[in-house]
């Protein structure tokens, strides 16, 4: 059964050493939940960015909570590079598993299908194959002279994202952001924050049911109004570019980052 809980209780599901899958900035990032996670400080997280991350990844890194980072990129987009990520790379603050976007999707799809790996085109000749010793090249068993890369399944402990709406039965609207379905199918548990809860089942209307993650996969839901802020949420509100730029400027130094995070935490505490 899906439980509707407070943000704080939702965040407590994330414990030290867990593998957490989070979506890209355009897809619905649980920023309010990120503040709540930072408040209870799980350590040595293995962050799987699907397939890239921005402010959320940078904050968790800056707080020293990330032990392994599996991603195809970390960037603040128009606001520039992700400062805490760049600094962490320089100091070797975490184990890096650089990837390429479709390889992360493929790893999750393998887990979704319950198979140990998935073949994927391309990548041959890239130095990623030198650094990702868990990726292999095999010969296509069905053809001659056709080397192909295989990537292992990615099994997150938790998938975490923010969506516009859930119903009180635990179904969550994901629209056409179908990587959210894949993340949830691949993960052992899924935590979702939403703008609002509705009393009517999202599965009742056949025309919108296809864009719904059914409650079967959803473990905890918390309501967080504007829960993706300062990032945007599809179909709901645009990113707060001025705030993201403010973060980008402040997070250039550890002290500036600390000051930013104090106000960020306070804002969410007061909203809760």
């Amino acid at each position: 059964m899906t439980e509707v809980v407070s943000l704080e209780r939702l965040a407590r599901q994330i414990r030290s050493g867990m593998k957490i899958a989070v979506p890209a900035d355009y897809c619905g990032v649980a920023m309010a939940a990120t503040a709540a996670i930072i408040a209870h400080r799980p350590e040595n997280l293995h962050l799987v960015c699907v397939p890239v991350s921005g402010m959320q990844g940078d904050m968790l890194i800056g707080e020293g909570l990330v032990g392994t980072l599996e991603t195809s990129a970390v960037t603040l987009g128009e606001a520039g590079g992700a400062p805490r990520f760049v600094d962490g790379v320089r100091t070797g603050a975490f184990h890096l598993m650089d990837a390429t976007c479709p390889a992360i999707h493929s790893g999750l799809i393998a887990a979704q299908k319950g198979v140990p790996f998935l073949p994927i085109r391309g990548i041959l000749g890239s130095d990623l194959l030198e650094t990702r010793t868990d990726w292999r090249i095999i010969d296509n068993p069905f053809a001659e002279n056709d080397p192909i890369v295989i990537v292992p399944a990615i099994h997150p402990d938790i998938a975490l994202f923010h969506a516009p709406e859930a119903d009180r039965f635990g179904n969550v609207r994901v629209g056409r952001r179908r990587e959210l379905l894949t993340m949830a199918h691949a993960a052992k548990a899924t935590l979702v924050t939403v703008e609002r809860l509705s009393d009517t089942s999202l599965l009742r209307d056949e025309s919108s049911a296809a864009g719904v993650l059914p409650a079967l996969y959803v473990d905890r839901i918390a309501v967080a109004a504007r829960g993706a802020w300062p990032l945007g949420l599809w179909g709901e509100y645009p990113p707060d570019n001025a705030e993201i730029a403010r973060y980008a400027a402040m997070a250039r130094t550890p002290e500036g980052f600390g000051a930013y995070m104090d106000t960020f935490a306070r804002r969410w505490r007061e909203a809760a």
């Binding site: 890209a24 355009y26 897809c27 699907v50 397939p51 890239v52 991603t71 195809s72 990129a73 970390v74 960037t75 987009g77 128009e78 590079g81 992700a82 990520f85 760049v86 790379v89 320089r90 100091t91 070797g92 890096l96 650089d98 990837a99 390429t100 976007c101 479709p102 390889a103 999707h105 799809i109 994927i120 085109r121 391309g122 990548i123 041959l124 000749g125 890239s126 130095d127 990623l128 650094t131 002279n145 056709d146 080397p147 056409r176 952001r177 179908r178 990587e179 959210l180 379905l181 894949t182």
Partner: protein
């Protein structure tokens, strides 16, 4: 007489020319000049009764028709449904290898960039990849990249996709896939062959007297300054405003 045009307008018009004949072009996030080039081609084809051009702009609501999440672009490319794409790079070398990861040695790079994104995949599968990087210096155009995010060539492996051209703010190169070398195609106004050679860190082939990159004609400029700028505003409002400012400066 060629009308007055800005450097950005030249890049956009050159991209439209490089895309001639494609049916579906994808454009990554934060790539306003490639997006403008693709929109220019679409508008021009429509005006001339040529084939429709489909454009997928990542990060746009209006120019993105995917319904299967972030993976669909990659699936689409693997199925052979995307004819052209753009890649850049902090470093690009003479074999058209690109580096989006950083300088120095991995993992503790001296300078770290965001990461490889989808490059290692798309470079292999999209037939016409246009390398676009405005900065044309020995810092960017190097003899050998520090990290191969995506390889320009792969010996002994059959691949559909790969480098087609390299466009910078000084010149246009094509890439000869059989020889594995760039060929200087044309020089933008105000650049010279010697200056391009001096600012390029890799060796390349060049005709004795490289021609100038053709500037946009009046009809192309009219479409670019009208319809294309309007279309761009949905995804790249700041960039569209900048183009409008430049247009006014050219016309006074």
């Amino acid at each position: 007489m060629t009308p007055a045009y800005s450097s950005r307008e030249l890049l956009i018009a050159t991209i439209a020319d490089l895309l001639d004949g494609v049916r579906h072009v994808a454009v990554g996030a934060s790539s306003p000049i490639p997006a403008a080039g693709a929109m220019l081609l679409r508008a021009r084809n429509e005006a001339n009764g040529r084939d429709d051009v489909r454009i997928s702009i990542l990060g746009s609501q209006q120019h993105n028709f995917f319904t299967n999440g972030g993976v669909e672009l990659f699936d689409c490319a693997a199925q052979g449904r995307i004819d052209a794409f753009f890649l850049g790079g902090g470093q690009i070398d003479g074999q058209a290898n690109i580096n989006l990861l950083g300088t120095g040695s991995y993992p503790r790079n001296d300078v770290r960039w965001p990461g490889c994104f989808g490059s290692a995949f798309l470079y292999f599968l999209v037939p016409r990849v246009i390398l676009f990087r405005e900065e044309h210096t020995r810092r960017v155009l190097v003899d050998k990249v520090d990290f191969v995010s995506a390889a320009g060539m792969t010996k002994g492996v059959v691949r559909r996709g790969g480098p087609y051209a390299l466009l910078t703010n000084r010149a246009l190169f094509s890439f000869d896939r059989t020889r594995g070398r760039f060929v200087l195609r044309s020089l933008h106004r105000r650049s010279t062959a010697a200056e391009v050679r001096a600012n390029t860190g890799f060796d390349y082939d060049s005709p004795a007297d490289p021609p100038p990159t053709p500037g946009p004609d009046a009809a192309t400029l009219a479409v670019l300054r009208g319809r294309v700028t309007q279309e761009l505003a949905e995804t790249y409002s700041q960039f569209a405003a900048m183009l409008l400012g430049e247009r006014d400066a050219q016309q006074t």
